[in-house]
Amino acid sequence: MMVQALALTLRLAVVVSLILLAISLPLAYWLTFSRWKGKFLAEAVVSLPIVLPPTVLGFYVLVALGPASPVGRWYESLTGHGLAFTFTGLVIGSVIYSLPFSVQPMAAAFASVDRKLLEASAILGASRWRTFWRIVLPLSFPGVLTGLVLSFAHTLGEFGVVLMIGGNIPGATQTVSILIYDQVQALNYRVANETAGLLLVLCLLLLSGLYGLRRHKGWALWDAR
């Protein structure tokens, strides 16, 4: 049961962090470089999941994915079943929930790239696309990796949103954190302890690996000048 939950959790975290990488790169780029005056609104929306209780977020996602919403109905007409209480539903909820953890480090890294380098790139004839891949991305690599790892770790440990959207179906939506809750409810403290310890060690390893890398001198690969 623990192995199954762990496998599901890891699969969820991998899928979610990869989707987030694909979403966050353009979103962080836009948040950093757009001159739109209403940008602060978008920034606030992206940061909402940090302050909202997971139940609030989970509730709205559940409603949005359910048969009462156009999205839910459309999905059901395509696949024959609803999104709520499925792995796909879980992925959607988790992507929204972990979005700020992925976008914010990337946006901060993009913003710290010297604007003069971007101007120099344009003057040398490079398009924005080329400037992004050749200059912005390599120079913000630590920030991008941080966003990726944080969204992965955050998804590993998420609870409330999963419970609201996914419920507790072993093999489909039962993640490690739900399993722990389940075992505690059943007064099965030994399994709860083992599972909780495993998650703790896993997250600690991941984060210490990340921060260790960032501290490491060879990390930057180039001189700061």
Partner: protein, 388 residues
């Protein structure tokens, strides 16, 4: 890739950069300049905030003028905006609503900070602007430019691993390898010693013997201006106030920037107290003090504001009240600071206003001058230049 290919129409004759722009900022600063720069170096000289970098930014397209036109070609900017002005390579024209994007302007721009890409090797930096060329052409162009700027030996190093002068050469090579239509240099050599500077300028001149493009060279360093000895535009508060060769522009010391260029270490604002027409002089009081100077007669009326420039080397120092002198300005004061720089001792004398005086070390010794000493400074009337 390169200038000739990029020109929208045929560029006839030698390349001339035509600039006629106006741009206003909040806070009352307005840039309004009109000039032509022929092939070769044109110096933009002025104090910081005079608008030098803004001009370069407008030519490169990093800033957009409110009004005007910028072109490369044989046309005078007076014709820009009319249909006939379109013959050259038009970069910007507010009337015709032309604003070529930065990356299509084929302008070379060397920032003061150089902006070398820190994560790329020297060779990768130089290749960066040549993406449109095929590999063979790119390779030979990079090899050629690295050779002419003497940086072939450091091809695989990163910018952080080479010296300041070498970085300057790499940045210049990266810019020039794209064969730009015009080159913009923003205080490119400020941080370098004179010998390194001279070598780089020589290499740049050699390069431009072949490509003959207009080069705008921004500086606020008067030694650099004389070393270059090229046509210059003097900018003050967003306007061109003098143009010509450095020695000609120097004949107009009434301008603030030129005054600094000409080496007036002492510049005082004041007002005319009284005009002595028959003596050919007038008395003026330095603002915020009781110090009165006798200066040559100008058209400034009594009571009006004026500015006086005095070279620090034209001021004499006496340890006793001097007598029997032709000099009309004898002012008592106290030495507040003495500092030796190379063969010059720089003294600060507090007389109500603070004067900077340059003395020889021998004079300081024989007069036994020290901080706190009571002195009299002596200034000839004709050493006081009325700047405005």
């Amino acid at each position: 890739m390169g200038c000739a290919v990029s020109a929208a129409g045929a560029v006839t004759g030698a390349a001339v950069l035509g600039v006629r722009i106006r741009k206003s900022y909040g806070g009352g600063f307005e840039l309004e300049v009109e000039f032509e720069a022929a092939a070769g170096i044109t110096i933009l000289f002025g104090a910081s905030g005079a608008g030098k970098t803004t001009i370069l930014d407008c030519v490169a397209g990093l800033q957009t003028p409110d009004e005007g036109a910028i072109s490369i070609g044989g046309k005078s900017p007076a014709y820009l905006g009319s249909a006939s002005g379109r013959m050259g390579h038009l970069l910007f024209d507010s009337a015709a609503k032309v604003n070529v994007p930065v990356r299509l302007r084929h302008v070379g721009y060397l920032f003061q900070t150089l902006a070398l890409f820190p994560h790329m090797s020297v060779v990768q930096n130089i290749e960066y602007g040549l993406a449109a060329l095929d590999a063979g052409e790119r390779k030979s162009r990079v090899a050629e430019i690295m050779d002419s700027f003497h940086i072939s030996a450091m091809a695989s190093r990163r910018p952080g691993e080479i010296s300041g002068g070498e970085r300057q050469r790499v940045a210049l090579a990266r810019t020039l390898v794209t064969r730009p239509c015009v080159l913009l240099l923003d205080e490119p050599l400020t941080a370098l010693d004179a010998a390194t500077k001279a070598k780089i300028v020589a290499d740049l001149r050699a390069w431009n013997e072949r490509f003959k493009i207009p080069i705008l060279y921004v500086t606020h360093d008067r030694e650099e201006v004389f070393a270059l000895g090229e046509q210059m535009l003097v900018l003050e508060n967003g306007r061109v106030v003098a143009r010509g060769l450095p020695q000609d522009a120097l004949h107009r010391p009434e301008l603030e920037s030129v005054a600094q260029l000409a080496g007036f270490e002492n510049v005082f604002d004041g007002s005319v107290v009284e005009r002595h027409v028959e003596q050919g002089t007038m008395a003026c009081r330095i603002a915020g003090s009781q110090v009165e100077l006798e200066v040559p007669l100008t058209r400034v009326a009594a009571g009006q504001a004026m500015r006086v420039g005095i070279r620090a080397g034209d001021i004499m120092v006496a340890t006793m009240p001097p007598q029997g002198l032709s000099a009309r300005n004898v002012i008592a004061g106290t030495i507040t600071k003495l500092e030796q720089r190379d063969a010059v001792v720089i003294a600060q004398v507090e007389c109500g206003a603070v004067f900077e005086v340059h003395l020889t070390p021998g004079a300081v010794r024989s007069l036994e001058l020290a901080a706190g000493a009571k002195v009299w400074i002596v200034i000839k009337t004709y050493s006081c230049r009325v700047l405005r």
